[in-house]
């Protein structure tokens, strides 16, 4: 039996990788993927806690997160395509016109 803490550590590592990806990569698609990693790290935590607590709540909310993540990926990718057509770039640092 693998103890709960192992799942949580894996999840934390995945979340940290995702966060680092969001902050360090300069490609919008990579950033979107990093966000997916963070979401799945959270999913893992939910499932692990659900299993640990002995009920299905964690799995149910995971399905919700996956649904939302699918929608988010669709909208996000559409935005990325629109931005790319407009600016010929995928680097988020060039999109700074919304400022003072």
């Amino acid at each position: 039996m693998i103890p709960l803490s192992h799942y949580l550590i894996v999840s934390a590592v995945l979340f940290a990788i995702g966060t680092a990806g969001v902050f360090l990569r300069r490609n919008l698609i990579t950033i979107l993927l990093s966000i997916e990693i963070m979401l799945n790290a959270v999913n893992l935590t939910f499932v692990a806690f659900g299993r640990y607590a002995g009920n299905l709540d964690g799995q149910i909310i995971t399905f919700f997160v996956m649904t939302v993540a699918a929608a988010e990926a669709a909208v996000g990718l559409a935005l990325v395509i629109a931005l790319f057509r407009h600016r010929e770039s995928l680097n988020p640092d060039t999109f700074t016109s919304l400022k003072w």
Partner: protein, 686 residues
């Protein structure tokens, strides 16, 4: 029934103010006059009813509804007519009707909308004035009090395109405000002391108290009320607005600033006779102020050159007489003089209006003279009014003025009597100066150029050219300085009012013929119940009413009264003779006197510099405080400073904070992340 009396003029006001501009002059003017006549008819019926009652029970009260009910305070919208207010409503509606009729001719040169506006104001005034005298409690009286002040303002500034008329209107309103403030304070003092504001209630409560020997709450309350009266009735120190109020149309001067509104203060003291009788200190002040005002205004009237201003100072002076009467406790005599004064002063003012009308706006008596032949109706009615005000037997002014002087003497105020007698001499002199300079001799054009032009009638030069644009310009273009020309005498509507008022000036006094010369002084007997407390009947009341002096039939009093009558009659004759001598026989004497006493003449011509004194001590300091303190400092620095300061704080902090909005999404995400870590860290390691 009682409510109808003020209601008729009010309806006239409503119609003329809403639809007047679309009505022809005959309809709007006729409607206003009819409203007044209807009101007069109702008043007559009411007074007849009142006469049918026994003297103690003479009062009709009508409560329409409870106006204010709050705790102990219960004020009804209720009208009450008793002998005193009966006299007042007859004067207001009777003389008011005549002046409305007169105005239809006098104001005929105005365009339709202005004409209707004039009559709507005049009707509104009459309505408020009737509320003032019919109100059965202080607040309702105050409603009328303020309402007539408003109408006075509106009518003084009727020709609002003329700056001097606007200024005069504002002056009247603001000076009155000082008095009204004191009036409110007086009302509050009375409520604090008695817990009621009903005239009857206050009178009964006061009657139970001893007469105040030292300055107490009653003296304070009555003094405050009297200050209110000095504002409305143009007494020292608040009289300065009345002469300026002559900027209004002349019928307005006759109705508001001579016959009715300015007597409101006298009426108010008469209404609260019981209250004032219990405050002898205040009464002394009232008498002294009245006598001084009478004397001062009389001396000023002696040298003024504007026909209406002479009459205005004469009004102030006669009002001073009324207050003198009130102050010595002769309430009946004061109201008697109020009543006779309404006739002859209205007659004089309307006569001066007819002169001004005939001369197309000329008001300076230096440009008049010799009008006797051309304006016979005006001349004779004016002359009758002048004889009446001078106090010649048997015209009305003689009886009322004599009663005041007699009561003053009998009450032991010999000094005040002397002042009153001197004023009587002055009155006769300046009135006949006016008569002689206006109607006798040859037509003159002595006034320095730029004569005071009348607002309604366009400006014209001092040589009497008929002004262009005036209705009668073509027919009456009389030439340079010739005494001839074809002047119009008063048209029928004006003549009617003049003749009726002249008859009134002769006969009005006959209801108050004193016992000493075989009369019955019906007016004093009629008024007596109004000056006594409702619960206290009998001798105290009679004494306060001043009816007992003659009633006793004491021989020494009769002899004294006859002597005093002789004195005042000879004073009046002497004044007239002096005026005749100086201004008809030896015109040079007047000029010599001016040259002999240039300082005195200038002092009087400039009205003792009181206006200048008020300007320097009150107006300018207030202006300075308002400009420097309230405007430049408080408004600009403090209020604007607070508003602008708040804006610049937001502006400054926003200038710093907006740097955070870099537009870099990752910077936002970074700050979000840091925030989450900090908050989580706080909860975890706390």
């Amino acid at each position: 029934m009682l409510a109808l009396i003020p209601l008729f003029p009010f309806l006239g006001f409503v119609v003329n103010s809403t639809m007047g501009r679309r009505l022809p002059k005959s309809v709007s003017g006729g409607l206003a006059s009819l409203a007044m006549l209807a009101s007069f008819a109702v008043s007559l019926v009411t007074v007849m009813q009142l006469r049918g009652l026994s003297p103690e029970a003479r009062a009709i009260e009508q409560t329409l509804y409870t106006w204010i009910a709050s705790g102990d305070l219960n004020i009804g919208l209720s009208f009450r007519v008793d002998p005193l207010s009966a006299v007042m409503i007859l004067v207001i509606t009777g003389i008011g009707s005549l002046i409305h009729i007169y105005s239809t001719a006098y104001m005929h040169d105005e365009v339709d909308s202005e004409f209707a506006r004039y009559f709507s104001y005049l009707n509104l005034f009459a309505s408020f004035m009737l509320v003032l005298v019919l109100g059965s409690n202080f607040p309702l009286m105050f409603v009328g009090w303020e309402g007539v002040g408003l109408c006075s303002y509106l009518l003084i500034g009727f020709w609002f395109k003329k700056k001097s008329a606007n200024d005069a209107g504002k002056k009247a309103f603001i000076v009155n405000r000082v008095g009204d403030y004191a009036f409110i304070l007086g009302m509050l003092a009375i409520f604090a002391k008695f817990g009621t504001l009903d005239f009857q209630g206050v009178a009964s409560a006061v009657a139970a108290l001893p007469v105040e020997t030292e300055f107490g709450i009653l003296s304070l309350a009555t003094l405050l009320l009297f200050i209110g009266a000095t504002g409305k009735s143009a007494q020292i120190p608040l009289y300065t607005w009345l002469p300026d109020a002559m900027e209004g149309p002349t019928p307005v001067s006759a109705l508001i600033h001579a016959a009715t509104m300015v007597t409101a203060g006298v009426y108010m003291i008469g209404r609260n006779a019981v209250l004032f009788s219990h405050a002898p200190e205040t009464l002394t002040i009232v008498a002294v102020i009245g006598a001084l005002t009478a004397l001062m205004a009389g001396t000023i009237g002696l040298v003024q050159n504007d026909i209406k201003r002479v009459l205005a100072y004469s009004t102030v002076s006669q009002l001073g007489y009324m207050f003198l009467a009130m102050g010595v406790g002769a309430f009946g005599a004061g109201i008697f003089h109020l009543y006779t004064h309404a006739f002859f002063k209205a007659c004089l003012f309307l006569g001066s209006g007819a002169v001004i009308h005939a001369l197309h706006g000329e008001q300076d008596i230096r440009n008049m003279g010799g009008l006797k032949k051309e304006l016979p109706i005006t001349y004779w009615t004016f002359l009758i009014g002048a004889i009446a005000i001078a106090g010649v037997f048997p015209l009305s002014g003689f009886f009322s003025k004599d009663e005041i002087l007699f009561e003053t003497f009998v009450e032991g105020h010999q000094l005040l009597w002397t002042i009153g007698a001197i004023t009587a001499l002055l009155t006769a002199t300046y009135m006949f100066r006016l008569v002689f300079l206006t109607f006798h001799g040859e037509r003159r054009h002595d006034a320095p150029a730029a004569a005071d032009a009348h607002g309604a009638h366009d400006t014209h030069d001092a040589h009497g050219h008929a002004p262009a644009g005036h209705g009668h310009a073509d027919d009456h273009d009389h030439g340079h300085g010739h005494s001839g020309g074809h002047l119009h005498d008063a048209p029928p509507a004006m003549a009617l009012a003049l003749i009726v008022l002249a008859i009134g000036s002769v006969a009005a006094g006959w209801i108050g013929i004193p016992h000493a010369i075989g009369g019955h002084n019906e007016l004093a007997t009629w008024l007596a119940p109004s000056f006594s407390a409702p619960s206290v009947a009998g001798e105290v009341a009679a004494a306060e009413a001043g009816a007992e002096g003659e009633g006793g039939g004491e021989a020494d009093h009769t002899a004294l009264e006859l002597t005093l009558m002789g004195v005042s009659l000879s004073i009046a004759i002497a004044g007239i003779a002096f005026a005749y001598f100086v201004w008809v026989k030896r015109r040079r004497i007047a000029d010599n006197m001016v040259r002999e006493f240039p300082g005195l003449h200038r002092l009087l011509l400039n009205k003792y510099y009181v206006d200048e004194f008020y300007d320097a001590t009150i107006v300018q300091p207030i202006k300075a405080v308002s400009t420097e303190g309230l405007w430049r400092w408080f408004d600009v620095r403090v209020i604007d400073g607070a508003v602008n300061g708040a804006a610049s704080i937001v502006d400054g902090s926003a200038g710093v904070l907006r740097r955070l909005q870099s537009g870099s999404v990752r910077a936002y995400a970074g700050s979000l992340f840091v925030g989450v870590v900090v908050i989580l860290g706080y909860y975890l390691w706390r």
